[in-house]
């Protein structure tokens, strides 16, 4: 099927198989490898991208379903002005280790921050519970995102 989706602000016309996943299209066709594959069942969040501003698991989203919509990946977020704040907070709090979950974690955080949905530490805990991190123990991530949201840990 022929689709056209906006990826990081750029219109990308593509001819995809109906069964093709958004994650494969991003990684294999567009060379955007920031979104990672892990659980493949929408649990771990490492393939998270924003679709019209909302986090989705690209491993369980058909590319065809993204037709006419806006996809933001970590590569696109990293080019935005507001990324500097995220980068600074995550770096200072050492809120990353192996880095495999990090792009997805940042995209989910960005979406929640933009929507103003992080008003308490509990909001942060629940809002990011769909992004697993096996390395850090979460404390640095919690501190970084709470700081960005302006809530106390």
């Amino acid at each position: 099927v022929e689709i056209a989706l906006s990826v990081n602000g750029r219109l990308r016309p593509l001819d995809v198989e109906p069964r093709e996943l958004l994650l494969d299209v991003l990684r294999d066709r567009l060379g955007l490898t920031g979104a990672k594959r892990s659980c493949e069942v929408q649990v771990c969040g490492t393939c998270t991208v924003l679709l019209d501003g909302d986090p989705v698991s690209a491993c369980c989203t058909l590319a065809a379903d993204a037709h006419g919509r806006e996809v933001l990946t970590i590569e696109g977020l990293a080019e935005r002005g507001e990324f500097a704040r995220l980068e600074d907070a995550f770096t200072r709090h050492a809120a990353l280790q192996c880095g495999f979950c990090t792009p997805g974690m940042l995209l989910t955080a960005q979406s929640l921050l933009e929507a103003g949905e992080l008003r308490t530490v509990e909001d942060v805990r629940h809002g990011l519970a769909g992004n697993l991190c096996r390395c850090t123990g979460y404390k640095g991530i919690l501190e970084a995102v709470c700081e960005l949201a302006g809530v106390s840990v």
Binding site: I74, F90, F100, H126, C133, C135, G137
Partner: protein, 749 residues
């Protein structure tokens, strides 16, 4: 490596929480992992895995698969006749693909290389394998029956890195046995005031490195090139060279960033099958596991244990007797080492009159078990500490006081002929107790526990490093350690910077590439800062010595370096090369080890809901007894990561088997901790006694907290009134235990 070397240049780089050197790359999604590597003409490989736990392979028909357009080749055991296809870290008991028999559900039986993943997957369905089912050994108990079927009758040859002495002839399904005997245990038990005994079990656990095992393999002539998600590229190189009959130097292993490891990427895993497939295809092949495939590639050993401990009424520990059975699955992998490490951890770091440990790992028809962070210690520490607390309760003594009285002190012997204790454990346990608020009042259904243990760490002490000082004053560190998330590249940059008097930001540390980075034994066993870090320090000092010789003065400023090099070489160019080597001072044998004892000390406060059996961890405290923290923030993060995994191991992580087949082979059914599981308070106390063998007195960390927190959660729950002898502490298990206690009139207390 026992000499504590003092820093010569006080550059202020060591002991500061320098930002991670890889932060920007990782945050921006630019960091490359093995699955991001694309090489020209690359094919996609998929593995056909046995659906049965034990079966004879009567025939394999691959014709329909080969006929599928886009399929380049199908690999079976027939393609391995020209090589010795058996491999294995401890014992060479495992074929690249099943030969004649499949020994676990999930064992590779064949593999396909195709132009794309979908075609490769479709081809798997066209391979026709005729299996004849064989009787299955599903559990440790079944493996030990006198008439148990033989799981692994393959050749019994030590692996390249066995290191545990001679292999006795195989006895039934027992893969490896390790015993320790000190004093007369029976005599001690006969006169003891207080004795507790029990049977315990620990489940198989999945490491869940978020990046699954991934390999890109390329074979050209007698050169084998790999991009692999492996923790120990030099050990993999040796194993691949031996398997395919080429010199070490003809195997090149490049390790990009690793998406977590935790032991799951220790030693060789998917590399042999990827190389065999690429060899047959004549083109590069990428093989990437699914989560299910990684779960059947390696896991933590399940374990059964029987333990007895004796103490005097006054609180003096007397003796301990331990029998341990590990389930190593169908192949040994690292089972023998896990067995020995578990046995070493079993007595705990206490002064005993006598103890005996009889540990073994057994083959079963389940997926092979290998390394997972803090193996051995995590298996045993909770059991010993639970018994200690029970004895303290019976004696009416404070559990902290019993530990104070009986813990070994620095310099005391722990294992005959081995490294004496190199840490202040009494001080450490006081620290975590204070951090937890040990003395403060407790609400109903709240319990507090501490736990103390040691883990033999460091593995084999061989590491090397090269430091290059470039003409522009930039410093490049070449070291074979892999960046698995622990922050090795940042810490090495700090060490080199400290020695050379430059900012850490001026130092670049690249990934492991066995063609260019010098030998480093492995990235695991908490060894990298201690051993590879020492090699980096020595290499940087080598350059420093050269610089002092060139300049004729000790007074060197970082800003002078380019001009100094220009005057030395007579033109703008040339570089200085520093060399750092770490080798064992004794024989390097297991008996003489370990390189250091990693401290496993932690505390936890839990709350149990008696109506539902749900256990919530409210607080944890761990001690990172690291000798010297090169980067305190990274030390804390390591400890916190271990804490969360310890919480998962204690509360809910468990691979569930039925008839030797894994029932929860997906993250939908296998739960790992999420942010919502984070305790309200998690604290890490860094202890710096400069008593480690690494640079500046450093020693490793990151594993201890896992063993310690798992154990502290168990002892805390027992303190709340619910002693449990099987992990994990699922709500159902805890609720059932409370019902039993009610019937016995022991609940509420």
């Amino acid at each position: 490596v026992s000499v504590v070397e003092r820093p010569r240049v006080g550059a202020g780089q060591v002991g500061r929480s320098a930002p991670r050197r890889d932060a920007a790359e990782k945050l921006r999604g630019q960091a490359q992992y093995a699955g991001d590597v694309v090489v020209p003409r690359m094919l996609h490989g998929k593995v056909l895995r046995s659906p049965l736990p034990h079966a004879r392979i009567a025939s394999i028909d691959v014709r329909a698969a080969e006929a599928l357009p886009g399929v380049v080749c199908v690999l079976t055991a027939d393609d391995l006749r020209d090589i010795d296809p058996w491999w294995g870290h401890a014992i060479r008991d495992r074929p690249i693909v099943a030969i004649e028999k499949a020994r676990f559900a999930g064992e590779p039986v064949a593999a396909v290389a195709a132009e794309d993943e979908a075609t490769a997957a479709a081809a798997l369905n066209r391979i026709d394998v005729e299996y004849e089912e064989l009787p299955v050994v599903g559990t440790i108990e079944e493996a030990l029956q006198p008439d148990a079927p033989e799981v692994n009758g393959g050749p019994l040859r030590p692996g390249l890195f066995h290191g545990l002495g001679e292999l006795p002839p195989r006895q039934g399904n027992v893969c490896y046995r390790y015993r320790i005997d000190r004093g007369e245990v029976e005599a001690v038990f006969a006169h003891a005031d207080l004795v507790v005994e029990g049977e315990y079990s620990f489940p198989a656990v999945y490491q869940y490195a978020m990046e699954t095992h991934t390999v890109v393999a390329q074979v050209e002539g007698d050169e084998i090139v790999l991009w692999a998600s492996c923790q120990h590229p030099f050990l993999v190189r040796a194993e691949i060279a031996a398997l395919f009959g080429v010199p070490l130097a003809n195997v090149r292993i490049q390790v990009p960033y690793l998406g977590g490891g935790f032991g799951s990427k220790s030693y060789t895993k998917m590399e042999p099958i990827a190389v065999a497939l690429a060899r047959k295809a004549g083109r590069p092949v990428r093989v990437q596991n699914s989560v299910f495939e990684s779960m059947v590639t390696t896991r933590r050993h399940g374990m059964s244990c029987r333990m007895t401990t004796a103490m005097t009424r006054e609180g003096r520990l007397l003796g301990r007797d331990v029998e341990i059975w590990f389930d190593t699955g169908a192949y040994a992998d690292n089972g023998p080492r896990v067995t020995a490490t578990g046995a070493d951890a079993a007595p705990g770091p206490y002064r005993w009159t006598a103890y005996r440990v009889d540990a073994a790992c057994v083959y079963t028809n389940t997926a092979p078990a290998g390394s997972y962070r803090a193996f051995g210690a995590t298996h045993l520490q909770w059991i010993g500490e639970l018994q200690l607390d029970e004895l303290a309760r019976q004696a009416g003594l404070d559990p902290l006081e019993v530990r104070r009285q009986n813990l070994c002190t620095p310099g005391e012997e722990l294992r005959a002929g081995g490294k004496p204790l190199d840490a202040d454990l009494v001080g450490d346990v006081e620290q975590v107790a204070a951090a937890l608020g040990w003395e403060s009042p407790k609400a109903a259904n709240v319990g507090r526990g501490v736990s103390v243990g040691l883990l033999a760490a460091g593995a084999h002490p061989v590491s090397s490093a090269i430091v290059r000082l470039e003409a522009d004053g930039q410093v490049v560190v070449l070291v074979g350690t892999t960046e698995v998330g622990q922050g090795a590249r940042t810490v090495f940059a700090q060490i080199a910077a400290e020695e050379l008097g430059v900012p850490a930001e001026q130092v670049t540390v690249r990934g492991a590439d066995t063609r260019f980075t010098p030998y480093d034994r492995s990235t695991g066993a908490s060894r990298s800062t201690t051993l590879a870090g020492l090699a980096v320090q020595r290499a940087a000092r080598d350059i420093r010595d050269q610089l002092v010789g060139i300049a004729g003065t000790e007074e060197l400023e970082a800003t002078d370096l380019p001009a100094l090099l220009r005057s030395h070489f007579g033109l703008a160019g040339g570089e200085l090369i520093g060399r750092g080597i770490v080798a064992p001072e004794g024989t390097g044998s297991y008996a003489e080890g370990p390189v250091f004892w990693e401290v496993c000390v932690g505390a936890a406060e839990v709350e149990v809901d008696p109506e539902t059996g749900v256990v919530r961890v409210r607080k944890t405290a761990t001690v990172a007894d690291v000798g010297r923290a090169i980067n305190p923030q990274l030390v804390e993060r390591q400890d916190e990561g271990g804490t969360m995994q310890g919480l998962g191991n204690a509360l809910f992580e468990e691979m569930v088997y039925e008839d030797a087949s894994l029932l929860n082979g997906s993250l939908l059914d296998y739960r790992v901790p999420a942010l919502t599981d984070l305790p309200d308070e998690m604290s890490c106390v860094i202890v710096e006694n400069e008593d480690g063998p690494g640079p500046y007195g450093a020693k490793g960390c990151g594993e201890g907290s896992l063993a310690a927190v798992t154990a502290a959660i168990v002892t805390a729950l027992a303190d709340a009134g619910v002693p449990v002898t099987e992990l994990p502490l699922t709500p159902e298990r805890v609720w059932r235990r409370i019902q039993e206690l009610k019937e016995e009139g022991r609940w509420p207390r």
